[in-house]
Symmetry: C2
């Protein structure tokens, strides 16, 4: 496979953007990314989105967004893998460019969650879980994650407070990210006394929803020899699935799809966990941050929280995570999240992360999770 | 780009399948296709589906279906382009295999429309149109097509009865297709007196909904030298978009995206309209059959109905269409339709079409339309 580069990136703020429609938010990110890439067109647009049909009464986003950004006629589809839709769209774009059938692809992730014309957001999010064996039984998406967290605490002996560093780090990093949903530093005391959502998950374990879009422009790397910008290439890209329902898994505390996709991506890139300078992980809930770190080989099974407690996830630590705030504080506009993660890794590798910068970052990883570990996409990026 | 072959095909009946869930229907098609291909696994599954979130309260179909067919862990995403989702999934699968990043991909289109746990089907279908400027104004999807048909009749001087041959041919062909939704021959008199749906579209201008799934298995053609089966390869694949709202188009009676995608596919294949032996077109409404024939160069602008009136669309005609019944009589399980079309072309090119066979068919075309011409995917297939 030929090497593919991320030539441009663009994002909107994550917020309740009442004054803007879904296509306007998506368009803002696409145009910013094309501008950053120094291009005024693309051969295809892949839209990562989960809930537009349910929340915004709008499908066929590909055609809508292509036309809106002034690229009427351009090939464009939506790609969906629940909360993993963003990275799935990037992977589809990557395969499209790697196929040689097109030369340039934009992947844009977008979700507009503050407007719910159909069902409410909690009901829409529940469609990421198994309709027959989870949602229809009355369990919400956060409740599924709460059961996983409770079991994890029981099994490995962690207390709720041990997960605090994940949220505290995310909130601290988001302070320097102008696009973040939350600009509000929190302490361990704030974390412990936050109001309960679904025991043991409290408000500060859970990522906030939001309206937002992020986009990346992909082209073959060999076209970019003369580029002035530091070249960021995709060195590994893999995805794997698992059972949709958590109870169907042999071990509900192990993200098989995280491990499988990470191992494949490491092998493609010729890299291992020790080479990763920054890791944008899927901290939709603090328990998922721990499980993701374990699945990708940064911590032993059951020992994810230790990395938080020992300060290793901080920008100065061994494996900095959520460097722009993560899902927890940058915000989690569901179908957009996976693209935000990759865009943030690119900012780090370009050395353009401002006060969020991890010094000397050369290798970055992004892992996007759809459902409670059911569909996981892992990307490894590198700069020269 | 290396040549990609369709190694296996599988389908379910199109019907109200109350006794089967979405994953069971999809699984039936995937397993049949893998069996036909002589394989027991695949590297990836691309699911074409439009409305599962709205109608079945289930997203994340990729993981769900992969697990259900016994391929837990396999990469799997949903691809959506409204009624064009099926062919979009095939195109995504094609690009994935062509990229060399994977060696085998299954594209499965599925829709379960008889069960509506959320909004009703008409409301869900309306999300294929522009939410702000069409659906929110109260116009349904069939009403949009009715306005196009009315304008077409006015502009080019056709009477409603002139569209009858499209529906009559489709119903006649479906008589020989055991998977078809309707097994009911109709006459010109039946067509003319059918009850009105949205003037001038009556019941026999409109395709029936249904539950169904179809799947194809794609692999690089050069792996198949020793295969006994006639080799069917994808010679052209292209897609294009147009405005989502019909009123935004310079000419609402011309499918720009049909013309653009067809021209690209012809150019890739080194073929033209005169080479096509069978054409599975998107006759969601009879007016769309006429517009598709014109956009692809089989008829002059405004002259599509003439091909019907002159018998050229019959299995014995110059350009046989809807050879297994088309959307009109095989049925239109929305996200599955584009895969049914390609599967039917493969049946024709293999010479396995039974009583639906177009004698000596060597080149087949399939065109899938999402929205009222907003997202169009065209494939050209050939046998050696």
């Amino acid at each position: 496979m030929q090497k593919i580069a991320v030539l441009g990136i663009g994002q909107t703020i994550v917020a309740e953007q009442w004054e803007k429609s879904l296509k306007e938010i998506a368009g803002e990110a696409v145009l910013a990314a094309l501008n950053d890439a120094g291009r005024d067109s693309t051969d295809a647009i892949f839209v990562g989105n989960m809930m537009s049909g349910q929340l915004n009464r709008q499908e066929n986003l590909g055609a809508l967004i292509a036309d809106w950004v002034g690229l009427r006629g351009t090939e464009a589809f939506k790609v969906e893998a629940a909360c993993g839709s963003g990275a799935a769209a990037v992977r589809a774009a990557l395969m499209a460019v790697a196929s040689g059938m097109i030369e340039c692809a934009v992947a844009v992730g977008v979700e507009k969650m503050s407007e719910t014309l159909g069902v409410d957001t909690t009901a829409a999010l529940a469609t990421a879980a198994d309709a027959d064996w989870e949602s229809a039984q009355g369990v919400s998406f956060v409740a599924i994650n709460a059961m996983v967290m409770r079991r994890y605490m029981h099994e490995y002996g962690w207390k709720h407070t041990d997960f605090g560093p994940f949220s505290i780090n995310a909130h601290a990093n988001a302070m320097h990210n102008p696009h973040a949903r939350l600009h509000e530093p929190i302490t361990q005391a704030d974390y412990s006394r936050a109001r309960m959502v679904a025991d043991p998950i409290n408000l500060l374990d859970a990522s906030p929803t939001g309206d937002g879009a992020a986009a990346v422009v992909l082209v073959p790397a060999d076209r970019l020899k003369a580029s002035a910008q530091p070249l960021v290439t995709i060195e590994g890209s893999a995805s794997a699935t698992d059972t949709l329902a958590v109870h169907d898994r042999e071990d509900p505390l192990w993200l098989t799809a995280a491990a499988e996709s990470a191992q494949k991506a490491y092998a493609q890139a010729g890299l291992g966990p020790g080479d990763v300078d920054v890791f944008e992980l899927h901290d939709a809930f603090s328990i998922m941050a721990a499980l993701s770190l374990e699945g990708c080989g940064f911590a032993e099974r059951g020992q994810g929280p230790r990395l938080g407690l020992e300060g290793e996830i901080l920008p100065t630590g061994k494996i900095p995570v959520a460097t722009f705030g993560g899902l927890k504080a940058r915000g989690h506009p569901v179908g957009a999240t996976g693209v935000y993660q990759i865009l943030e890794v690119v900012q780090q590798l370009r050395g353009e992360a401002g006060q969020c910068q991890v010094p000397g970052a050369k290798v970055g990883m992004a892992q996007n999770i759809g459902g409670s570990g059911a569909n996981i996409v892992t990307h490894l990026l590198r700069t020269n």
